[in-house]
Structures are given as structure tokens and as C-alpha cells.
Amino acid sequence: MKEKLLTGLIYFLTTGLGIFAYIYPLLETSNQGILSSNRQNELPIMMAMILALCSIVLIYEIQQYRLNTKLIALLGILIAINSTLRFIDLTLPVLGGFSPVFFLILITGYVFGGRMGFLMGSLTMLVSALITGGVGPWLPNQMLTAGWVGLSAALARRLVLLTRQENKPAEWIILLIFGFLWGYLYGAITNLWFWPFLSGPSNQQFTPGSNLLVSMRNYGVFYLATSLIWDTTRAIGNLLLILFFGKATIKVLRRFQKRFYFVQLGEGN
């Protein structure tokens, strides 16, 4: 019980810190505090550091108490497969922000639980960045957001179990909605990383009546203008992947689940 409380607290705090870090640039802040000196350029770096901190803490918590050798190998292989799928040249026309990686992240979280989902999401982004030469200050942001995608799949699972919709159409509808929403949310959240560059708070102090609402409106316009179409393809892509491959993939993972979750005698916990 104590253990559970402690873990719950960690998740609550990191999620809170992460969300706050994301919306911070949208808040009206006057010239005070370490994050709002006259030179606003460090804001993205600061943000990257805070988000990296959140990811690191969560990754640490999960690996410390939950990972055994089988799950380590499982994650390594699933990430390798996910990266492979990413580089397959689909013979189908692929547009915009479509990426097959979110499908497996969601499904992994759904079957193996939120923690595995989080690791699957954040480490997929890490490995992708390593092999494509995409390591940069945007990486913590991608890792945390993709981690949230996997973590949130546990919510979908809970929802399904709570409403006893397992193996009923509603299970698929819930998953489809999750996939579709994350298509947009992922874009909306990761784009926030650029936001301080595009409208830092020092800029806003010259914009009379600037507040959270105005910032949100501005961000909304920015998002609509730059990312909507891009993210729509991702949302639809997720939708189609879950629709066509969701059932079969979940079935395969379930078949293996028992073998991977067998507690190893020598490894405690």
C-alpha cells in the first residue's frame, strides 16, 4: 500500500511538473524568477531540462522496480521492430505526420501496462533519435510525450475493464479514440517546444492584456496554421493502423504475455 502511494505520488508529481513546464511559456509572467531574465533564449533549454528530468525520473522509477531480464529483452526487440516499421518504405502514399511508431507504443502500453508503455514510448524516441542523428534539445520533449502515449494506454485498459467491454466493440472504439486523439495531442504538445522561440514572454510583455487565454488563442492559431493538416494525417494513420492491425497485434502480445511476466526466482521482487 505504502509502495503504491509512493509510486502514485511520483507519477502525479512528474506529470504535474511536465504539464506545468509545457504551459509555462503560455503563462503571463513578468520579469521575475530565473526563467524570465531579460534573455529569453534559455527558456527552451530550461524546458528541455525540466522535461528531461521528468522522463529520467519516470524511467528510473520503472526500471528500478519493474524491469526484469525478459522485459528488457522484450522492450529492446519491440523498439527495434518499431524502428524497422518506421523505415519501411510503404508502397502506399504516406503523407504528413503519419508515423507507425505510435501504434505499437499504444498497444504495448495497453497489453503490458502503463509502465512498459511509457518506456516503450520514450525509448523508441531515444533510439530513433540515435539512429537518425536526431539527438537534440527537442528529444526530452518527444520522449516524455511519447512516453505519455504509452502510459495513457493503461487508462484505456482501465476504462475497458471498468465498463466490462473486453472483446466487445466498445474496446476497439475506445482504442480508436485514444489513437486518434493522440495523433493531434502529440503534435500539439511537442510543438510547444518551439513556442517560446516564437513567442517568448519578453515578447508578450509588450502585448497589452496578454494572459493565458490570449496565449492559448495565439498558440491555437499557430497550431492550426502549422500543424493541423500534418497532425490529421497522423491521427488518421493511427486510426487505420489500430483498425486493421490492432486486434491481431493484441492477440499476439497476449499469447506471449504470460511467458514474459513469469517472475524470475533469482531476481527478487
Partner: protein, 529 residues
């Protein structure tokens, strides 16, 4: 060294014991060979020695086991890793890191050995196995034999007393397999290693063993002792042992060398040389084909034909280009030069999907095909791909032929290796192709399953199918082939009558042919009774 008493082990959720051993002792410095059909618990026995069973697999276990004075059940795999080196069956899947030296260092890192010592030990073990030149190579760039030897190096770097190997030669060509076995014998002698090894292909390894243990299909240790005595109680003996029984030779010879002394005064009259005739019309013609993959020329000026109703066996070392040749025949790779004709028509103008209706192809790994929920479904998928209406009786007939009719509704991936292979075979021949091409179909099969496959293929051939297969297994090839084609380094070095070809190439000579070099006998069936 290794002592097992009254042991019974059961996998989690299983209804029967997977392994029962009343008493087994393997003394220090011995080479013990473990044989048995698939599913007889060979792998389970091997994994008991280093504690993987039950620590990795779970399940319930009773009885005593002692390995170098330790109880692996109490100590667990981590402690045992310093006493027991383990080489797994699918070697390429056991590597964690991609560079040879890092891979060899992996177990030392886990044992927290200081870096300076690690560097010395990596050098030493590579030197011992004459593999120094591979130190910086990527693991996936190695040949089959090199990969196997690197895995052995990695298993030995912690200087264990015992080396356990799970079918180490099953994926190697005859030469590479021979080299690995010689290496093992040498390590046994030089380091005083105790070696425990399981194997399916007895003809090759029997003579290397000091001890032989047979497991029965229900997981009981049936027999253990000197190979000469124990082999007689084995259901599936290599040809030389079968011959020894027939002739009453004693002590039973384990390889051709040991058998020679018995035939010194044997009188025999060689058969009349049967005339080798090339049958009927060519179905497929390969004319001056060159294939480059990247910058490398993989196939050089390949010329041959596949005739209707023949059984052509393609042999050659790993990396000779056999798989590339098959893929070229199927139109998966376009030749850089030359032409391939199927029934007189160039295949480059034919669609792979269309071509495959007439040519069935079983890939090396049958798992690449299987994805359906049931066996029945798997076969129907192929028909649907070709827009052929589904006829249940045709499917049923084929499943009966393949002896998997009882598994029609099973999930294909849960079946045994042999069954999976037959499902995959069913999935490619359901269109009733004229030609069937198989890439190393005996890989991972036990002797019984191999024999069943041989019978089935011979029967199909009798009924008019043309069969082309690639194999490393000399005895299988000798029993099957109506014609042999040997590919080395991308070139056909010889083709023709197996009775001639197989004895002119020492690597591909079956035991009986080696014993009677003056005759044209290849298998026991060729011998006059």
C-alpha cells in the same frame, strides 16, 4: 562434475513432467552427447546444468543436482555463469552487442571483471580459438562457422569448467561443422573442459563423444554410457552403425575410420553401374546468369536446367550463393546478365505472384509465412491470394498427406518445428505447383521428422512434382537426389549423377560411400543384401 539424482521437472501449467532422470553422472573432462527426438527434453536437461531451468523457465522441480559442487537451483544462473558456458541453438539470436569484442566481453562485464583483465582475456580467448582477425568485426557480418566459434569464445571467456552446447552444428555446412567439432575436441583436451552437447545429426558427431545419453520421447533418461554400447539401443542410428548391426561388427564402429578394419576382408561385387540419364524435358532453364548484390558478384555464369519430375539437390558451403540462386529463380532478384526461362518463357516478364502459382517455395524459416489464426486458414490464405476458390476437400486431402489433419484448427505458431514446417509447406503447395523449391528443409528437424519429410517428398515426386532443394545434410541428399548440383563461391563446380558427384567431393560424401570408395553405393539401400 555433474551429478543428477531422482530429478523430475515440470514446466509451469504442464500436465506431465518434461524430464525425469533417475541417475546421471558426467565425470570431469568428458564429452557427453545427448540425443533424443524433439520434445524429449534435451534442451531442458542442458538448461538444468546452469540453472536456467527452473530460474528462467519457472515450473516445479524435485530431486538433486550438483554441478562442480554447486546446486544450480540454489545458486541461480548468475553464479553458475562462471562455472558453465552455454552456447544456444540459434546462435545469432544470443548476441546482445553488435561488435565481436564487446560481445565476448559481455559476460565479463556482468561479473564486474576489471577492464585491464578483460582486455587480456578477450585477446587470450580469441588467440586460443584463432579468431584474432575478427575482433573488430560486426557480429552480423560473420559467416555461420565464425559466428558459432565466436559464441563458443564468448561462452568460454569466464573460464568455466563446463561447456554446454545446444545443437551447435545444426545450421552449418559440413566443413564448418567439422571445424567446430574439431575445435571442441581440442578444447576438451587442452583445457580439460567437460562438454555436454545435444545434436540431431549423429553421423557426424558420434565419434567425438566419450559418453552418450538417450532421452526417450516422454522425457525419461533411457540409456547412458559408452557410445558404442548405447547407440545400439537408439532407434535412429547413423548408416555406419546400421551396417555394423547388419554385419555383426563388434565393437560397433562410430565413424568410417573405425569401420574400415571390418571391411578389409569383405568380399563384394560392385553393382553394375546404372546408366545415369537426364530425364525428359527441361521445365526451367538458367542461361549464363550473373547476379551482383551491391558490389559483390554473388553468382557467376550459372547454367543449368531443371527437368520435369527430377529431384535436384543443390549443395555448397554457407555463403556460396545458394539462397541467392533460389531467389533469382523465383524472380525476386533480377539477374544482371543472362536469362531464366520457365517452360520456355522468360520469367522476368512474369509477375512473382503469378509465377508462384506454378512454383511453390518453402523458405528457410517457415515462420516467415505463418500469421493466420488456424492451420486451415493459413492454407486458405494462399488460395485467396491466387483468387482460387476454396475447396475444403482439397485442403483436407493435403493436410492428411502432411499428417497434420488433426491440427487443422490449431494456432500454427504453437506447433512443433516439424509441424510448423509442414503447415508452411502446405501453404505453398496448396496451389498444386509443378515445381517445389525448398531451402534447407531439414534444419532443426529430428531424424524421425526428417525421414517423414523424405518419404513425403519422394511420394510427391512419384506423382509428378519436380523438386529442387538446398541442403547441407549429406545423408539426406544421398537418399533423395536424382541429380546433384554443387555451388561454390557463386559458380557451379559440378553437376550430375549423385553417385559420381558425391564421391568426387569429399565434403559431400555420405558414410557408406566413404567406406566403400570403389563402389558407387551412397546409402544402405544401395548395398547388396
Amino acid at each position: 562434475m555433474i551429478r543428477i539424482d531422482n530429478l523430475a521437472y515440470r514446466y509451469p501449467g504442464a500436465e506431465k513432467d518434461a524430464l525425469q532422470i533417475n541417475e546421471l553422472q558426467i565425470p570431469s573432462g568428458k564429452f557427453c552427447l545427448v540425443i533424443g527426438e524433439s520434445g524429449s527434453g534435451k534442451s531442458t536437461l542442458l538448461r538444468l546444468i546452469n540453472g536456467l531451468v527452473p530460474h528462467f523457465t519457472g515450473g516445479t522441480l524435485g530431486g538433486q543436482i550438483s554441478v562442480t559442487g554447486l546446486d544450480p537451483i540454489v545458486s541461480g544462473p548468475q553464479v553458475m555463469s562462471r562455472k558453465v558456458g552455454f552456447v544456444f541453438q540459434e546462435v545469432e539470436n544470443q548476441f546482445v552487442v553488435d561488435i565481436v569484442e564487446d560481445e565476448i566481453a559481455f559476460s565479463m562485464e556482468q561479473a564486474a571483471i576489471p577492464r585491464s583483465e578483460m582486455q587480456v582475456r578477450v585477446q587470450q580467448i580469441l588467440h586460443k580459438l584463432s579468431l584474432e582477425h575478427l575482433i573488430k568485426r560486426r557480429v552480423d557480418s560473420l559467416s555461420g562457422g565464425e559466428t558459432q566459434r565466436i559464441a563458443i569464445a564468448a561462452a568460454l571467456v569466464l573460464e568455466p569448467k563446463i561447456l554446454v552446447l545446444d545443437e551447435p552444428t545444426s545450421q552449418l555446412d559440413p566443413l564448418a561443422a567439422e571445424e567446430v567439432l574439431i575445435l571442441l575436441k581440442q578444447l576438451q583436451q587442452d583445457l580439460g573442459l567437460t562438454i555436454v552437447m545435444s545434436e540431431q545429426r549423429l553421423d557426424r558427431v558420434l565419434a567425438y563423444a566419450d559418453m552418450l545419453a538417450i532421452l526417450s520421447p516422454d522425457g525419461q533418461l533411457r540409456e547412458v554410457g559408452l557410445p558404442q554400447t548405447v547407440i545400439q539401443k537408439c532407434a535412429l542410428k547413423p548408416p555406419i552403425v546400421q551396417l555394423a548391426e547388419k554385419r555383426g561388427w563388434f565393437p560397433v564402429p562410430l565413424d568410417v575410420e573405425q569401420a574400415r578394419k571390418f571391411i578389409r576382408d569383405e568380399k563384394f561385387t560392385p553393382n553394375d553401374k546404372a546408366q545415369f540419364e537426364i530425364a525428359t524435358t527441361p521445365l526451367m532453364e538458367v542461361q549464363h546468369v550473373h547476379v551482383n548484390l551491391g558490389k559483390r558478384e554473388v553468382l557467376k555464369d550459372i547454367n543449368f536446367s531443371l527437368h520435369a519430375q527430377e529431384r535436384l539437390v543443390l549443395m555448397g558451403p554457407n555463403g556460396a550463393g545458394k539462397s541467392t540462386l533460389l531467389r533469382t529463380l523465383l524472380g525476386l532478384i533480377a539477374p544482371n546478365q543472362g536469362e531464366i526461362l520457365f517452360k520456355g518463357k522468360k520469367i522476368e516478364f512474369q509477375h512473382t505472384a503469378g509465377l508462384s502459382q506454378n512454383i511453390g517455395y518453402l523458405p528457410q524459416d517457415p515462420n516467415a509465412l505463418l500469421f493466420s489464426e488456424t492451420v486451415q486458414n493459413e492454407l486458405e490464405t494462399t488460395l485467396a491470394n491466387h483468387h482460387i476458390p476454396i475447396q475444403p476437400e482439397r485442403i483436407e486431402h493435403l493436410l492428411t498427406q502432411l499428417n497434420i489433419q488433426s491440427k487443422a484448427n490449431a494456432y500454427p505458431r504453437d506447433l512443433s518445428t516439424g509441424e510448423k514446417q509442414r503447415v508452411a509447406l502446405g501453404a505453398v503447395v496448396i496451389t498444386q505447383p509443378e515445381i517445389i523449391i525448398l531451402d534447407e528443409p531439414t534444419r532443426g528437424l529430428d531424424q524421425l521428422t526428417k525421414n517423414a519429410l523424405l518419404e513425403l517428398l519422394l511420394e510427391w515426386n512419384q506423382n509428378g512434382k519436380t523438386i529442387l532443394l538446398v541442403t547441407h545434410e549429406v545423408e539426406f541428399a544421398a537418399s533423395f537426389a536424382s541429380r546433384i548440383l554443387i555451388l561454390e563461391d557463386g559458380q557451379i563446380v559440378s553437376q550430375g549423377d549423385p553417385h559420381r558427384i558425391m564421391r568426387t567431393h569429399p565434403r559431400y560424401t555420405p558414410q557408406i560411400a566413404r567406406l566403400y570408395p570403389e563402389t558407387d553405393w551412397l546409402t544402405l539401400d544401395d548395398l547388396p543384401s
